[in-house]
Symmetry: C2
Subunit: 254 residues, 2 copies
C-alpha cells in the first residue's frame, strides 16, 4: 500500500505522517517513511536523532548508483526483496525504513526538479509485499507527480486545520490529484479545538470525505521546542490507530 | 526598498507580509505586494476579495508580453514611472499594488521553475523611487533565487514561531541567503505565548538578529475560518508599525 500525505505548510502534515508511520509499524512488517518535502522534518518526527538523520544519504544520489549498475538508460524495477542496494539509503529503526529525497539546497543552486523526477521513478518502481506500506510526506505542491507515479498511489491523504487557507490548499491538491488520476483522496482534520471548528471542516467537504478528526494538542505544540520531541507519539498515536484501520478498509475495499 | 519574506510553512509568513504591506502603505506612496509562494494567499491577507483575486493575471504571463514588445531576447528594465504595461498585472488597492507570480498548477504539469526564473528577472528589473517599497512573500525555498536577484533584496525577513522545526528552516534559509550574497537578514518571531517561548527564540539566534516579537493572537487564529478575514489588521498592524520603523532604520543605516 502506498500512501501520500499532502496539505498546506504548518497544518501538522509531518506529525500526522510520522504518527501514521509509527501506527503502521505496529501491524506491518516494513513501513517505508519517505520525506519528500524539503520544508519538512519527518526524520525527527519518527524519532531519528538529528546527528543520525544528518548521516542518511539522500535517495536522489541512488540514481547515479542505479545508472552505474544498469549501465544507464531507464530505471530498473527495485525489488527490496531481491536487491539490497536500496538499504544503503534507508535508515532502519524497528519496522521503519526512513528515506529522504534530497539535501537542503545551496542558495543560487537549481530547483528540486531532479529530486521530483527521481521520486516519481522510485515510487513507480518500488514493489511491495502485502505486509509493506509506504508513507510519503509531500509538500502542498504535487503538480510535479507524473500520471504514472500517481497511479501507484493507493490513497492521497490531505491534512487540513480549521482555517480557510488550509482548506483552499486542500482543494487545489485534490484537484491536482484528480488531474493525475488518483481516485482515492481523503481528508484528515487536525488541530480541532471545538465543535464549531469540527462543523466548519465538515461543511467544507462532502460527506465521507473526512477520514478523521484529531484534537488540538497543547503537548504537541509545546514539544516543538524540545530537541528530540516525540510529538507523533502519545495521544496522537492512539487516535491514529483508528485512522489506520479506516485507511486499511478504504484501500482494501477498492 | 525591496523586502523578501521567507520562513517555514504555517508560521504566519503571509499574515506578517500582509501586515507589513499595510503598514508601509500608511507611509509610502506605492507598495508592491508580490505573492511568490504557490502555497500562500497574500491577496486575501491584504484584503482583496476572492472573486477579485481570481481575476488578477499572473505576472508570469507578462513575459510573453515583454517578449512581444521587445522582440525577444533579454528582459528590458521595467520602470513603472515610464512604462504602464506593468499596471495590467497589478491589482491596485489604495497605495498597494498586488501582483502574483503564477497560477495554481494542474496535476502532471511542470514545476515552478518558469515562475521562479521570471521572479528573478522581475525583481532585478523593477526600478523603485524612494517612496516605493516591494514586499515579496516567498516560500521556505529560496534556493532558486539567482545571485543577481538577491543583490536587489535589501532585507530578507525570516519568520519563525517557537518551534525547533521553524528555527531549523530559518537557519537553512539564512544559510541560502548568505550563499546568495544577501547580507541583511533578520528574524521576526511570531505566535509568542509566553516568556519561555520568547527566551527560546532569543537563545536560538545571535543578539540583534531578532527584529521583533509578535504575540500569539487568538483572534487571528479564529479569523482563519472567516471568508474575508482581516487577520493582518487590528492589533497586529499596530505591532507592525514598530517593526516597520526598525526596518527603515536597518535598511537606511546600511
Amino acid at each position: 500500500m502506498k500512501l501520500a500525505i499532502s496539505g498546506k505548510g504548518g497544518v501538522g502534515k509531518t506529525t500526522i505522517a510520522a504518527a501514521l508511520v509509527k501506527s503502521f509499524a505496529e501491524t506491518h512488517q516494513t513501513v517505508y517513511a519517505i520525506d519528500a518535502d524539503p520544508d519538512a522534518c519527518l526524520a525527527a518526527a519518527v524519532g531519528i536523532p538529528g546527528d543520525e538523520a544528518a548521516n542518511i544519504k539522500p535517495v536522489v544520489e541512488m540514481r547515479d548508483k542505479i545508472r552505474a549498475v544498469s549501465g544507464g538508460g531507464a530505471f530498473y524495477v527495485l525489488n527490496p526483496k531481491l536487491d539490497d542496494s536500496i538499504d544503503d539509503y534507508c535508515h532502519a529503526r524497528g519496522n521503519i525504513r526512513f528515506m529522504r529525497m534530497g539535501d537542503v539546497k545551496k542558495g543560487g543552486s537549481e530547483c528540486y526538479c531532479r529530486e521530483n523526477t527521481f521520486l516519481s521513478a522510485l515510487l513507480s518502481s518500488l514493489l511491495l509485499d502485502k505486509d509493506e506500506v509506504v508513507v510519503m510526506d509531500m509538500g502542498a505542491g504535487i503538480e510535479h507527480l507524473s500520471r504514472g507515479t500517481a497511479r501507484g498511489v493507493d490513497l492521497m491523504l490531505v491534512v487540513v486545520e480549521p482555517s480557510r487557507n488550509s482548506i483552499n490548499t486542500a482543494r487545489n491538491v485534490m484537484s491536482m490529484a484528480q488531474d493525475l488520476g488518483i481516485n482515492n483522496i481523503k481528508i484528515i482534520a487536525n488541530k480541532i479545538r471545538s465543535d464549531k471548528e469540527k462543523e466548519f471542516i465538515e461543511k467544507s467537504f462532502q460527506p465521507g470525505e473526512v477520514l478523521g478528526f484529531l484534537a488540538f494538542n497543547n503537548t504537541i505544540w509545546e514539544s516543538g521546542m524540545e530537541p528530540d520531541s516525540n510529538a507523533a507519539g502519545g495521544e496522537l498515536l492512539v487516535g491514529m490507530r483508528e485512522v489506520r484501520e479506516k485507511i486499511l478498509r478504504e484501500v482494501g475495499g477498492q
